[in-house]
Amino acid sequence: MILTKKEEGDSQREEKEVMFLEIHNLKKSYGDGESRTEVLRGIDFSVAKGEICVLLGPSGSGKSTLLNIIGGIDDADEGYISIEGEKTADMNEKTLTKYRRKHLGYVFQMYNLIPNLNVKENVEVGAYLSDKALDIDDLLKTLGLYEHRHKLPNQLSGGQQQRTAIGRAIVKNPDILLCDEPTGALDYNTSKEILKLIQEVNRKYGNTVIMVTHNDAIKNMADRVIKLRDGQIRKNYVNETKISAEDLDW
């Protein structure tokens, strides 16, 4: 189901917009009694199809938890997430796995590549999950990894490993690409290279990208910026001055 909704604070956009991902009153806490910590305290926002949405916030603000709930690998105490109208909370374990398999691509700060598979095979691990997988060699060229396709992860630089991880996530052409601090372990230049790649993938394949970062500068490449603090949304706006990742600076 495609939802049509007007976003608050979205003044410069068209009045009505097709929203792809909707998050409604999401709450999550850990622990009991005195040690209870509320990580998310009622999160509401929507993301349109094809948008790059950056979740910004300091450590402990709940951004990774939010991403994990969107990714179906964690569950909320209250509220729901719907993707094209389908609520993930209603799904059982099996359906959730199918949902992840069909709709999601994941990129983590740690690349989590399979050490004894080469670059191409690591990307194939993602392709296997989809019946609409992208051409692997084309993708490897896009990722700039074609020459390295026979190398094992430990023969690659950090940036190359992260590109492989992005390749693995994107090759199945997912509707949503979830990136958890994808540049957290990388230096400035490599980080920019990865961000450029994410932007390029987004442009080329039209996937919705949700990226968690604590790097404030990255917000400039986003279509939508959501700032979190103490489990609450402090800001949610459409970035009218979106720039190319190439031009980011921090």
Binding site: N68, G71, I73, D74, K94, T97, K98, Y99, R100, R101, K102, L104, G105, Y106, F108, M110, Y111, N112, L113, I114, P115, N116, L117, E121, E124, V125, G126, A127, Y128, L129, A133, N154, A165, R168, A169, K172
Partner: protein
């Protein structure tokens, strides 16, 4: 698209080749050996079963005191049987031609009707001084075709090695507890050759077959009993053995395949242990690859896909081991197993047969076991959420509190932590060591057990000679009187009139006794033969004081059937329903047989015998003044120690094999599990290296904890293994007739500990090198 994770499998295999190869080789050998055992067993069993028809085996035989007349034979054949002469001569044999007698050879003429011969090697004799001897006897006495041996002081040339179909097991006497393929042999000579041996040691044995084969065992027994009565009335019978009770024919058949269940159980236990090893190592791999698994699960890989991935290699290795093991089983190992049977029995040649059941037992069952155990242990871990994998938090309990340790030194606390951290690996190690030690104990205990049994028998022999006499039974059958003319020739007639006066001896120290064989009546199993002795008061041979009412049991009987003083023991007639119940007053050290001792007078009363009845002599001197034909059996030291001697010959190589097997198992388990523990801790080892610990200190931390566990496991498992073995031994011995007293030689224990530690020392040295090689950057790499 094929699952790309499949591409990992050959790489995994290559990376951890040591582990997979060791497990593969071990399983291949185990499966191969069991497959070979089952195939050889079923093939030989089939050959054995067919031999009854193929070699036209008799339905029974009887021995007469003199040659039967044609008229007598015709009279007997009217009873619906065919009778054939099967005379034999028993002569002293000197296998190594050194001038000293070292056994007995029972020689037959070549047979053309019943009990045909299977020529295993060479050919049948053609000249008077040629002989074809039993292959088993030849093997045990290192004789082969072309050799010569002395029989009755004559040189004989061996032309062939044969198997006599009525001697698949070399029992010289049907009442023997054990056969003797070392000192007793059978042979075939030409008719002139046989005749040249004279008649001094000739036995008039006849074999018979029923014209109409009995339909079942009951009918066979009835027919045999009827025929015996007819024989007793018509001829002078000295021995009567229907086929079903002929141990020389049936013992091998009952034994072949008899150990199948034990072999199968052994195989399954070993597969289960290997499955645990796989599961423990796979769980370790899963822990190591937690974040990758988390990523894959987050990307949509199902638990099933990952489970299949992680159990693929254990299953593939098991499958490969099953296939290659079976190939080896059907080719090379089958022959080794068959040789084990050929090492005990004189069986005819066999043809290898396909054994579907064995194939299932050695392929499907191990794979299913491997599958079930791995799924059980691995799936549980994979049920953790993707998030937990991503966070490398694979503990199930929410808050895992660290176990508080007493104020030991830092190093000792560190070691205890290592043990706690590797609980599952160490528990598998303990179970493996326990199982290996049970096997090792079995392999090592048997030889001293048999020597001890032999020694005990000799220490507790009643007398150097026990003579059992052919004494007429009180014939109540009035039919016997019916044919008065023929009655003169019956066993009863002759014995009554001629034997009784000659049963006395002037041999110094000879003491009369009575003995009779009854059967006990244990619950849920067949009874076995128990000899009931009637002993004279103040006997100089049996040191028993029958003050209390009741009977004394040989210690083996009491031990085997768990009978205590004050219990009642009920015995029955073997072929009738009469039962006798005795009160147990005590036990008597007599390991040679399962026996009951009672005062001779009570014996006579119980079995309704005359006041002066006896049917045997105990004597330390050889009795020479009783005609040999009235002596049914003479039991000497040689006869009593036959069991231990033959078991040592038949099973000696198996005990050795079991020992080897146990040590290999022991070494494999220690190698795999210490390797696992070191791999699991490689990051920590690397880290403590970075911190400045020296190799010596690291070894003392990581290897010492394993050494503790190994020493503890060995010692504890020895106690447990002894306890388990005692229980298993009793179960095994229940299937055998008689009882070999369980004896665990104390020397075995330090030997086992030494062997265990020796193997561990070797493995530890390998792991020492491995620890030394762990690079310092491993800790840093593993952070990722």
């Amino acid at each position: 698209m094929k699952n790309p994770l499949l591409k990992r499998l050959p790489k995994e295999l290559k990376t951890d080749l040591g582990k997979y190869l060791v497990i593969f080789l071990f399983m291949t050998l185990t499966i191969g050996f069991v497959s070979g055992f089952l195939v050889a067993g079923s093939s030989m069993s089939a050959a054995y079963d067919e031999s009854f028809e193929k070699y036209n085996i008799e339905d029974g035989n009887f021995t007469l005191s003199s040659k039967a007349s044609q008229a007598q034979l015709e009279r007997l054949e009217k009873e619906g049987v065919r009778i054939e002469e099967n005379f034999f001569v028993e002569e002293d044999a000197d296998a190594d031609s050194d001038g000293k007698t070292d056994g007995t050879m029972r020689i037959y003429k070549n047979r053309t009707g019943m009990n045909l011969i299977c020529v295993m090697k060479g050919e049948l004799p053609e000249a008077e001084d040629e002989i074809a001897i039993d292959r088993m006897y030849a093997d045990n006495n290192h004789l082969s075709v072309g050799d010569s041996m002395k029989i009755a002081d004559k040189d004989m040339k061996i032309t062939g090695l044969v198997a006599l179909s009525d001697y698949s097991c070399l029992f010289s006497d049907n009442s023997d507890m054990m056969f003797d393929a070392v000192k007793f042999g059978v042979a075939i000579m030409t008719d002139p050759g046989f005749d040249s041996l004279g008649t001094a040691h000739l036995s008039y044995r006849y074999s018979w077959q029923y014209d109409k084969a009995p339909k079942n065992e009951t009918e066979e027994k009835n027919m045999s009993e009827d025929f015996m009565k007819v024989l007793a009335r018509n001829v002078s019978l000295t021995d009567y053995i229907p086929q079903y009770s002929n141990q020389a024919i049936h013992f091998a058949g009952d034994d072949i395949g008899g150990d199948q269940t034990m072999m199968e159980v052994l195989l399954y236990i070993l597969i289960v242990i290997m499955a645990f090893v796989f599961a423990v190592t796979t769980n370790n791999t899963i822990t190591k690859e937690a974040s990758v698994i988390g990523t894959l699960r987050a990307s949509g890989y199902t638990r099933g896909e990952l489970l299949r991935h992680y159990i693929a290699l254990p299953i593939l290795v098991t499958l490969a081991a099953a296939v290659i093991g079976n190939i080896l089983g059907y080719t090379y190992l089958k022959d080794i197993c068959a040789d084990m049977y050929y090492g005990s029995y004189s069986l005819p040649t066999y043809v290898t047969r396909w054994n579907g059941k064995a194939f299932v037992l050695t392929t499907v069952v191990p794979i299913v076991l491997m599958l079930v155990i791995n799924i059980m242990l691995i799936y549980r871990k994979l049920t953790l959420s993707p998030l937990k994998f991503l966070r490398r938090d694979l503990s199930r309990s929410k808050k895992k509190k660290a176990v508080r340790l007493p104020a030991f030194s830092f190093m000792n606390r560190f070691r205890i932590r290592i043990i706690l951290q590797n609980k599952s690996g160490y528990i598998t190690l303990f179970i493996g060591i326990l199982f290996a030690n049970i096997l090792l104990l079995f392999g090592m205990m048997m030889t001293p057990l048999l020597s001890n049994y032999q020694k005990k028998i000799m220490d507790n022999m009643i007398a150097k000679y026990q003579y059992m006499l052919n004494v007429p039974e009180d014939e109540e059958d009035e039919e016997a009187d019916a044919d008065s003319e023929e009655n003169k020739l019956t066993l009863m007639g002759i014995l009554e009139k001629m034997l009784i006066p000659s049963l006395d001896t002037k041999t110094e120290g000879a003491e009369k006794f009575c003995a009779y064989s009854l059967k006990n009546m244990p619950k849920n199993r067949d009874g076995e033969s128990i000899t009931v002795y009637g002993i004279q008061d103040d006997s100089q041979y049996v040191d028993l004081d029958f003050k209390d009412e009741g009977v004394y049991l040989s210690d083996g009987l009491a031990e085997k059937y768990n009978i205590h003083i004050g219990d009642e023991l009920t015995l029955k007639e073997p072929y009738a329903d009469d039962t006798y119940t005795f009160q147990v007053a005590g036990t008597y050290d007599y390991p040679a047989a399962l026996a009951v001792f009672m005062p001779i007078q009570e014996y006579r009363n119980t079995f309704d015998k005359a006041e002066d009845y006896f049917n045997g002599y105990f004597s330390n001197e050889e009795i020479k003044d009783i005609d040999e034909q009235y002596i049914a059996t003479t039991i000497t030291e040689d006869d009593l120690t036959k069991v231990s001697r033959q078991l040592t010959v038949s099973m000696g190589s198996m005990f050795y094999l079991v020992n080897m097997f146990a040590i290999i198992l022991f070494a494999i388990l220690i190698y795999l599990l210490t390797k696992l523990i070191i791999e699991k801790n490689s990051a920590s080892i690397s880290m403590v290296k970075i911190l400045g610990y020296e190799n010596k200190e690291i070894i003392s931390l990581y290897l010492t904890s394993t050494t503790w566990v190994v020493i503890f496991s060995i010692i504890l498992s020895l106690a447990a293994a002894s306890w388990i073995m005692t229980a298993i031994y009793k179960v095994i011995m229940m299937d055998f007739s008689g009882w070999l007293t369980l004896y665990l030689d104390p020397v075995i224990y330090p030997e086992m500990v030494a062997m265990g530690l020796g193997v561990y020392g070797f493995v530890a040295a390998m792991q020492y090198r491995k620890i030394k090689k762990i690079p310092m950057d491993q800790a840093l790499k593993n952070v990722e």
